[in-house]
């Protein structure tokens, strides 16, 4: 019922927004510039709505698909404590997906529609989750690097101009920083452990470093969505600014762990106070986004299978709900 209601809301909004007078747009931009939060029922340009739906649903899908690479080590976690922490983390990701879909629904697109866009391949999710988790150290590396990069991206989103998204991100960020600490703790244990454990940690860093750097997206000169998102204060910092910040924070952490960052050109520039780093293989990122990463097909196949296998359960729950409603109506 709830989602059907949302489905019907779409055309009404489109009509209302069909006439976007320059005065409306100027008034909207003035609110943004004054750092006012835009709420679900407020007028907004159709392009602003579309941009947010795209971004929020991608974010939600990333949380859901992101459960898979980590879930891959749940059955093999080395201690009961680690198993519990990892399961709690994967559960948090499901929770993030849930409240991000809810934030998306406030914009007039139902969760079913968003999920359908994921399943048909129309909607994307973060490229990082198309890489495999090959050892336990990868679970550490994901927490440390991937969640670390996600936090860099997401903390500014807590001040995003769209209220429901900003509020969802406050909660998400709190949990992400806990995940990041847990990931670093796994790496710390491994890097202070046996030779084999150290090798495991270094190998994980070797494989996850560049994909993590790519998580910030194309460089500013090639980013097609950036300028408008900045003007609308959906985005606060450019891809390259955030990437640099991440590298500056993370390299000393790698040094603390006694691990080598796999970039021979990495060098601290005393003049700028930033690390200089080597060239990013943008072709790799383009391939992964185009569906040709190591795990794209596997991740989507698993998601589709879970969705298909669950269809009889969802049908039963609907049928049962209808029966109960009919009984109540008859009583």
């Amino acid at each position: 019922m709830y989602t059907q209601g949302l489905d019907q809301q779409g055309p009404a909004n489109e009509r209302r927004e069909g006439v976007e007078s320059p005065a409306d747009i100027a008034a909207f931009q003035a609110r943004i510039d004054a750092e006012e939060k835009i709420e679900a029922k407020d007028w907004m340009p159709a392009a602003y709505r579309r941009t947010l739906i795209r971004q929020i649903s991608q974010h939600a899908h990333s949380e859901i698909i992101g459960m898979q690479p980590e879930g891959n080590w749940l059955t093999r976690a080395p201690t009961l404590k680690r198993k519990a922490i990892l399961l709690a983390k994967v559960q948090d990701e499901a929770g993030h997906g849930l409240y991000l879909y809810s934030a998306g629904e406030t914009l007039g697109t139902s969760r079913d529609e968003m999920v359908n866009d994921l399943l048909t391949g129309k909607a994307k999710y973060s490229s990082i989750f198309n890489y495999p988790t090959l050892s336990w150290a990868d679970i550490g590396a994901i927490g440390w690097l991937v969640d670390g990069a996600a936090i860099m991206n997401q903390i500014p989103l807590c001040r995003c101009s769209y209220g429901p998204y900003a509020r969802a991100m406050v909660r998400v960020c709190k949990e992400e920083s806990f995940h990041q600490r847990q990931g670093f703790d796994i790496m710390l244990k491994l890097s202070r452990g046996t030779e084999k454990q150290k090798e495991m940690a270094q190998d994980a860093l070797n494989r996850w470093w560049w994909p993590s750097i790519m998580m910030f997206g194309p460089s500013d000169t090639d980013s097609k969505h950036s300028a408008l998102s900045m003007a609308w204060k959906i985005k606060r910092f450019s891809n390259d600014e955030l990437r640099q910040k991440f590298i500056d924070v993370t390299v000393p952490q790698a040094e603390f762990l006694g691990l080598r960052v796999p970039d021979s050109e990495l060098e601290f520039d005393t003049a700028t106070g930033h690390y200089k780093f080597g060239a990013i293989d943008w072709q790799e990122l383009r391939e992964v986004i185009a569906g040709n990463g190591p795990c794209n097909r596997q991740r989507m196949a698993r998601r589709r299978k879970a969705h298909d296998d669950g269809s009889w359960v969802r049908a039963a729950a609907r049928a049962y709900g209808d029966k109960q409603a009919a009984k109540k109506a008859a009583a």
């Binding site: 459960m67 009961l80 519990a84 399961l87 559960q91 849930l98 452990g193 698993r302 296998d309």
Partner: protein, 252 residues
Amino acid sequence: MNKELALLAYVTRLGDNALILAQRMVQAVTLCPELEEELANANFGLDYIGQARLFYSYAGKLEGKGHSEDDFAFLRDAHEYRNVLLLEQPNGHFGDMMAREFLFESFYLLQLDALQSCDDTGLAEIAARAVKEIRYHLRHVSQWIVRLGDGTDESHARMQQAINDHWPYTGELFSADAVDVLLRSDFNGPDLDVIREQWQANVAAVLSEATLGKPDDGWMASGGKQGRHSEHLGYLLAEMQFLQRSHPGANW
């Protein structure tokens, strides 16, 4: 067997039941039919891992040989595990998982409830904590039995089959061996005959609301409590234990 060994065996069994079911739940992560069920499944799995840790830590204390919770979990072979066979059964589909959890938790809730007032304080304290968790699990899973039983023709058929398939594993829950007998006589532990009657009544009530038939008690599988398991457990443990086994003595 003396009463101390019986208590140790009993607590270890409780830990084994909790861990094996947790491991099965963990295997279902990212495969649930709804996002809300992902949250519930992970939540319940976390409860069971937590219970396993409490039972194993207490078992280590009772045993007095310096074994940690992880030694119990990761360094025992299949024949040393004493979980009931019901819990090691493969996940199957969502209805199978619900059937397994429903039949077990209908028992486990009564078992924990009785253990809260047993004469061993350590065990009673863990039971008092666990019983709260299992009470809400059972409410959740019972609702699914009803929804799936009284949903569509397809879900009714699948749910009935799932109940039928898991039924022969329920006998073991109530067949008291020397450990159960000593726990009852020396620690004021659960009376399995009384629990069985309550279980029958509670299960029958939910199945009836779900428009499902209650299977007849025919042949019942047994052996899990004595360490004679199905083929499934070896694979479950091989996967779960591999890091500890291939890196002896490492810290994680």
